[in-house]
Symmetry: D2
Subunit: 344 residues, 4 copies
């Protein structure tokens, strides 16, 4: 059994990790930390876990965490920097769900997250945990930066084209619609039911923190070429799900895109290329670790439209984190992740 | 492996059975029928199942169904009567999710369902599949009538009191709030998102088909005494969940109700008596087979209030059906049913 | 034109007052206060008001407020006590939407609101602003206590029976389902979309602050008799609306209840007794000042079930407040309140 | 008083017309037709209208309709063609909310709507009822084609640029998110609450019927130049609202777009250009006839992003229809349309 610790388990990615891990056949949950909830039973905060775990929140402690085989960080940005190093030094591997190690360029990170980067020396060994791209490096990594939710859905849609050099370093557009859980479990007026249900709006059109992360991933897929990307996130009145509508122009294309995507993801357990003409709905992945893609190409105009849906809390966060763990420890990649999406 | 067939798999209880059964460790799904969808891949209708099953819908056929070990009927009322007999005769056991065998009195059934009862001769052997009451009979039953959603939530709340003779044959009240999926997957104006979201209303106050079923169950728990019950169902703007608020008066009670309930359900894997003072939310059981109960007693007035929540599609239908199957075939009672509720 | 001021305009009852008053033909909005938002344009916080008002929030000031003809208090409990007196002394009339003057017994108020009552001397002249009961006193009142949302829906349902002496001083039950806006616009985890949508739960079963207010109103209607009432509020996943399901037993009733209710409310502009057998939906009053009632009586058991729906922010708060103002100033009672409910 | 008739009043645009017209100060509602509901009181189908109208549905009759000053058609596509001519000949003016007269090219119409055009001879005099473009022609028109919901939101966003020649005949993108009421009130599985809430999906990516209408409008604004437009509609889990996110590239722009838009719409009562940097939410127009726009320009890439929100049933249908009527009859353009959006 793999001994697992979780740092910061009171948010949505934390409870989602718990939901998955309490039923994972190869995992022993050892510790879950929260400074503010020290001593509280986890299932008192999250009654869906009643009967599944007896764990209590405790104050984070590098020694206890270091005794784990792997520690998940489900903390706000900036928190993992310091503690991750201690935990790594104590011998555990680290899977960080925050943005702390996603951007390779620490200066760029500081610009977007408006705080000093607290662990620049760890950046070189941090592996960007998108299994569809970095599976080999993940196997041996000590430190994983789990991709963000928007970046996962956008990269999985564009990467097959960029890898093949089919997109010029031109303007790509990602019009992304996110469920409200993407904003986290913190009390705020904007995400109250009365404010965010029965409504839709774009936000952060001037620039969102996931933009540099997406650009970095797309650029890597394009062999280092710079990518021009317009990214417009929208708040959508639902609990879970991201729907990314991706636009690019490829005039006079003579490649079978459907076949290209199907080949690219043929061996991927969690990417489902739907039949040509499909319109995946976010509910088809609710609670599951799957990304569903559909490819549409308008021959007359050369316009390509890619539809990409994930559950932001699973493939966009905690499920992908567990997928990384499975790869790191040589388990079946879908261990603990075979749940069917809840529909309806 | 237990060979399983499903009759009528295109509704919500059908797809929910599939969601559970494709991951059940002891089940081999052999056949799923639908006259209207003959030949269609199941995952084409329900894309959440892509990658989980290759089954296609087929026309129901007693021979094929009879070769199964057990056949689930997820059909509208009145359909199971005729076919169930054929399937039983062909050697399979039957678990019926419809109302066809729930009411022991065929005349009463005909009065509420406004059609002739098509299988009166099977009624004596039909076992009402509420495991918390009839576990022993379920083990050897050939024919199970899976309880309705409202009846499950109401009976689990009242039964411990009735079994102990704590309630006089007096007026009990069940004020029940159901999610919209309880109305099924048929196209109808009343359950359109634009009609049923952002609103709440009672319905069938003059009399609902689940009333005789609930009365029958409560009366049995009371040792045959007649029960006066007022049952008011409400349509609630959500996909899944039933919240039953149960009222009874027991002046001058000197019993520790909390202890009584905890003892009654101590060994039940799917009934969770919450701590005194709790208010269970339906989302705490979303996608899970659990019924959560909370007991409130107002000493000054003698008013008892019991809160009972289930997922109407799981403990209220398909999950309970699988729980019955597990008991019938000597499997772990929670095999395939260990999923944690999806929260948020 | 009636000069109007609003104290505390940043919550849901505040913006709802504004929505109604900016189109009221006889009103001139003079001032709206908020300490925290001093100087901010109202339509910057509430963009639905863009084009309808140029008002800015200002710090409350007794002089400015006193120059108004009437001042609405849309403040949290405890705030109106001190300022209301100043404003009254300065010559304005006061319509208080908070609970500060609803309970005639200050000790009772302190018990439930857990703070000292700050204006006991004003209680004798405070008129409980339920027009269907107190229209005459409202006309000349200086100080109106606008009823709470639950109390409005429950009282309008029970009062016709109590006035006629048809209910014994027995146990009445009010099972009430409220939209989330009833919890206000404050940031809190429990009313986040991700916490309160797709779920339902009871709360405060042990005792809710609206209980003494409802009991007081029912008792008055019963000529002073004490009322035993069980009140269970539920949080319902929608923005607006209250659905109260009221239970009482009247064995051997020989009164035509439908006719009784129709007669009682025949001249009421905002109470709609629906045809016998109806099931009013909350959406039928969304955005309107109407209370719709339906009466159901089960002859065999003597059980009476009354369904009562309102928009908690309109008839349950701001609309009722404006109705009071119209009565106080001799305007048409429905001036500014003729909006049809938004459906769908 | 203007005598008004409505043909086909049982859908969402019908009841929305009624909601607006029963409070319109200059309108007398004479007749509302529905073949299927002949004789039924309108408020029995739509209880929000109880107390506001005594009208009953009747079978459409050209004579009765012809006696009106104006007749609204709220019918499915193809129905207005035949009857409109009769009504016009009988002397009434016609405002058609369907698509029947929106496309000037009847062959194009037939291609998209897959039926013969039944009134080609009326097309030359049909005026496209977008007041912000065609106010003068509307004044004297006998026959108005009210724009579709998507087309209204997209055209109001792009038109100021096209009129100024700022956009080359290049690829424009309209990524549009529509509430479910856009799909109408007909019973269908896809728009059940359980199918369409808690989910999002694109649809008709290969081509949607509103595409030719939008292209026609944009092309006219561009002085007849052909427009390349990619239009991707999405189904969004809410009752009302359209959020259109519009993309265009204008490298090296030296025009102040904010000022351009503000000037273009300065005198428009129902177009609100929000301050630079804004993100309008659809709820800010819920129930109101306003279109809110926000302009974002990324200097470094030349990417222009325009956000445009409307209530699809008001400015996208029935409100715009009434706005047309007001213009046609010389009334205040906002008569009956001054309602503030319902927020929350």
């Amino acid at each position: 059994m793999i001994k697992v610790g979780i740092v910061g388990g009171t948010g949505y990615t934390g409870v989602e990790l718990l939901r998955i891990l309490v039923n994972h056949p190869d995992v022993s949950l050892e510790v879950i930390t929260s400074r503010s909830e020290d001593g509280l039973r986890v299932d008192e905060m999250f009654p869906n876990l009643r009967g599944h775990t007896d764990l209590k929140f405790s104050v984070p402690d590098a020694k206890t965490l270091g005794d784990c085989d792997v520690v998940f960080f489900a903390t706000p940005h900036g928190v993992a920097h310091a503690l991750a190093e201690e935990v790594l030094n104590a011998g555990a591997r680290v899977i960080d769900l925050s943005a702390d190690f996603r951007i390779a360029d620490a200066d760029e990170w500081e610009k977007w997250y408006k705080q000093p980067h607290g662990a620049r020396e760890l950046l070189p060994e941090a592996v960007y945990g998108l299994p569809e791209v970095n599976r080999e490096q993940i196997k041996t990594a000590r430190l994983i930066a789990v991709p963000g939710c928007y970046p996962t859905s956008v990269q999985l849609g564009f990467i097959p084209l960029l890898e093949k050099g089919l997109l010029e370093p031109q303007m790509l557009i990602a019009d992304c619609k996110s469920a409200v859980s993407g904003a986290g479990r913190g009390a705020s007026v904007g995400t109250l039911l009365c404010e965010s249900s029965e409504s839709m709006n774009a936000y952060a059109v001037a620039g969102h923190r996931h933009l540099p992360e997406i650009r970095q991933g797309l650029s890597r897929a394009a062999g280092g070429k710079a990518i021009e990307l317009t990214f417009v996130p929208h708040l959508t009145p639902m609990i879970r799900g991201i729907h990314s509508t991706l636009y690019a122009r490829i005039p006079n294309l003579d490649v079978d895109l459907q076949a290209l995507f199907e080949a690219r993801y043929a061996d991927e357990p969690f990417v489902d290329v739907m039949p040509a003409g499909s319109h995946p709905a976010t509910r088809s992945v609710k609670g599951s670790n799957t990304c569903r893609l559909a490819i549409h190409y308008h021959k007359d105009t050369g316009q390509l439209i890619i539809l990409s849906v994930i559950d932001n809390l699973v493939k966009g966060a905690s499920g992908q984190a567990v997928q990384n763990m499975n790869i790191m420890f040589g388990l079946d990649e879908d261990a603990g992740l075979r749940q069917v999406a809840l529909m309806p």
